[in-house]
């Protein structure tokens, strides 16, 4: 297992790492160095204090991230529930669309019947008029 030598606040530290995690480790060390650089070095403040303050800041950020994570978890649960509701609504929409199709077909059928009925009634009216003419002609 390779070893990475790092200098932090004047101290040499050796870290064992997996080969495939070299980049990740380097990135973490750079981040930590930037974090430490947020705290000014002076003879009155010890290295331990700087590391403690950096760790404290990291804890604070972790706590905030946890809140964000909890919120995300809550939102995800909410989204899952909404997905279920949306699926139900989608099913209902499909059902309603099917019913609408059936109603449209039924409506077309009824319209055809009505149209046929109107034609048949007109034919009956013509027959009745012909009968009336026959009666009038026979009386004259």
């Amino acid at each position: 297992m390779p070893i990475l030598k790092v200098e932090i606040l004047g101290s040499q530290i050796e870290i064992n790492y997996e080969v495939n995690e070299e980049e990740k480790l380097a990135s973490l060390i750079e981040n930590f160095k930037r974090r430490l650089s947020d705290f000014p070095h002076s003879e009155r403040v010890s290295n331990y204090t700087i590391i403690f303050l950096a760790a404290l800041k990291a804890e604070d950020q972790l706590a905030e991230l946890k809140i964000v994570s909890d919120n995300n978890k809550y939102n995800l649960e909410k989204i899952d529930k909404q997905v279920v509701i949306i699926e139900k609504l989608n099913n209902e929409v499909v059902l309603l669309q099917d019913q609408l199709k059936e109603l449209n077909l039924s409506n077309i059928y009824e319209k055809n019947i009505n149209s046929n009925a109107v034609e048949a009634i007109e034919k009956l009216e013509n027959m009745l008029e012909a009968i009336q003419r026959k009666i009038k002609n026979s009386i004259q």
């Binding site: 009925a117 048949a120 009634i121 034919k123 009956l124 009968i131 026979s138």
Partner: protein, 67 residues
């Protein structure tokens, strides 16, 4: 009963009525012909009666003339 069934029933009824009207019209036509023939016959009889009455009058007149 659907509307088309009712219309079909009505059509059947109208067709029956049509046949009945044809029969009645034919019967009426026959009646008119019979009536016309009877009227002609009555006119003819009236003419005959008039002629006969004239003949009778003439006979009576001759009878009175001879007595």
């Amino acid at each position: 009963m659907s509307i088309m069934d009712k219309i079909t029933e009505l059509e059947t009824s109208i067709k029956k009525t049509d046949v009945l009207v044809d029969e009645l019209a034919l019967y009426l036509k026959e009646l008119k012909i019979k009536t016309r023939l009877k009227e002609e016959k009555i006119l003819k009889l009236k003419e005959e009666v008039t002629i006969n009455v004239e003949k009778i009058d003439e006979i009576i007149e001759n009878y009175h003339a001879n007595t």
